[in-house]
């Protein structure tokens, strides 16, 4: 095994039953490092994506507990928790990225100037400027187009205590949202997937669009890369 800084990635999850499909954030096999999950008391899709700030204290406490127990970075399973980025980050001595939305400033730099980033989210009607600001950017200065899967079958399932969507269902619903955006915007040059379920279909999005795609796994990987070694060190240590 590689010699590495001890400590897994803390994933503060919703109360819903995890969906450990291949490529899911709920599947430890999706990561090249250890992860630890903690269900945040009172955190459900309905209230967290609804902007309910009552659950902030539970996120702060959960982050504190996970870092106290040795986790070296913190993320979540719901991008709408970018609302809590500043408060959770202030509460722990470890890097925190609540949402893949935090990747927007980096992603928009990689594409041609004037290009647009498509954001596919769980629910575009619930995603506001406050979520973007929490993630470190603004709708007023970044060139994005946002579509959600609201109303779709996957969306309905994700509200349930035990989400019952299938991989194909999710792929269909995410592609429908993205295709709609691409039909209206010829200048889309990259895709950012907000929802923590969407890494399951990220490779499909890449293959279908040929565009750069980042998601919730990317943000976890980037967080952990900042606290861990490079591949060179790991390879040397592994030999």
């Amino acid at each position: 095994m590689a010699a590495r800084t001890p400590g897994p990635l803390a994933i503060l999850r919703l109360q819903h039953k995890p969906v450990p499909m291949k490529g899911s954030i709920a599947d430890p096999a999706s990561f090249a490092y250890d992860v630890r999950y903690l269900a945040v008391p009172g955190a459900w899709t309905e209230n967290v994506t609804g902007g309910d700030r009552a659950v902030l204290a539970a996120y702060v406490e959960s982050a504190r507990r996970m870092v106290a127990e040795g986790c070296r970075a913190v993320t979540t399973t719901c991008g709408f928790t970018s609302l809590f980025q500043a408060e959770v980050s202030a509460a722990v001595p470890a890097p925190v990225a609540m949402s893949s939305l935090s990747l927007l400033p980096l992603l928009e730099r990689l594409i041609p100037p004037g290009g647009r980033i498509a954001i596919v989210t769980f629910d575009a009607s619930r995603l506001t400027e406050a979520h973007c600001q929490g993630a470190g950017w603004s709708l007023t200065t970044s060139k994005v187009a946002i579509a959600g899967i609201e109303g779709s079958e996957s969306w309905q399932e994700m509200f349930k205590p035990e989400p019952g969507f299938t991989r194909d269902m999710l792929a269909r619903d995410v592609m429908t949202a993205l295709d709609g955006l691409r039909a209206h915007h010829a200048d889309i040059r990259a895709v950012l997937l907000e929802c923590a379920f969407f890494p399951i279909v990220a490779d499909d999005v890449r293959a279908r669009t040929g565009l750069p795609v980042v998601d919730f796994l990317t943000v976890g990987d980037l967080l952990m890369a900042s606290t861990d070694g490079t591949s060179a060190d790991a390879k040397v240590a592994a030999e």
């Binding site: 202030a90 935090s102 730099r109 100037p113 990317t218 990987d221």
Partner: protein, 239 residues
């Protein structure tokens, strides 16, 4: 996965003999994706570091050449090329990330509000707002402090056509600059290493300083993760 079918990183290089120590971005063994290197005509440490605009055309032409040859993304081996980011990104259809300075907005977001970022560079005297703007941010609204290894033995070597230095020398010089900066700024919470030689010593810095630290290889792994199916590449350390 077949290496030949995997997305390749195109790396625009200085004419100086590349540093290929373990962990170096110019050492193909550092990455779990293929890299295609191309020295840029007229690009040397001495004229790329700083603000000489003369060599931008050569970078654009070299990026176009690598794109024609089929690479999936473009980067460089000098962070001062951040000032060419917009011009090169505008010239090709594939994503472009020329400098680890582009990681600054993300890193500024994952640390507690009010804390600072430290940037450790090849030459702090020559790193200016022009470079930051190219990388997508401004010193005016990002709390960053900067130190360089200018005047050190490593700095002197890197300016030569055929740099001769070793890991110990670079560890010493980078750590000295970092420690001095942190002593003057105890509120630093994370580090961005600008220079493309610094990934060689990034783990050393992480272990010595204990702060989240990203470098040129972090950026290049992120870049490739955005264009690669998950089976093919991970941002995290390879096992």
């Amino acid at each position: 996965m077949d290496a030949k079918s995997r997305p390749t990183l195109g790396m625009l290089q200085l004419q100086n003999t590349p540093i290929r120590l373990p962990g170096a971005i110019s050492n193909p063994a550092t990455y779990d994706f293929p890299v295609r290197y191309l020295p840029v005509p007229g690009a040397w440490t001495k004229n790329v570091v700083g603000t000489d605009p003369g060599v931008v055309t050569a970078y654009i032409e070299a990026a176009r050449q690598l794109e024609r040859e089929g690479v999936a993304a473009i980067s460089t081996n000098c962070g001062f090329t951040a000032r060419f980011q917009k011009d090169v990104a505008a010239a090709v259809k594939i994503p472009v990330a020329l400098s680890s300075l582009s990681l600054v907005p993300f890193m500024a977001r994952i640390i507690p509000p009010g804390k600072k970022l430290a940037i450790v560079t090849y030459d702090a005297k020559q790193l200016v707002e022009l470079h930051f703007n190219g990388a997508g941010w401004s010193m005016k609204d990002t709390p960053a402090v900067i130190a360089g290894i200018e005047g050190s033995e490593s700095w002197t070597e890197m300016a030569k056509p055929d740099p001769k230095f070793n890991v110990g020398m670079l560890e010493r010089d980078v750590l000295a600059a970092t420690r001095k900066l942190l002593a003057a700024n105890p509120d630093v919470a994370a580090i961005v290493l600008e220079c493309s030689a610094f990934p060689i010593v990034a783990n050393f810095v992480r272990k010595e300083v204990g702060l989240p630290t990203v470098d040129f290889s972090t950026l290049q792994r992120f870049l490739m993760a955005s264009v690669t199916a998950r089976a093919g590449v991970s941002l995290a350390a390879a096992e």
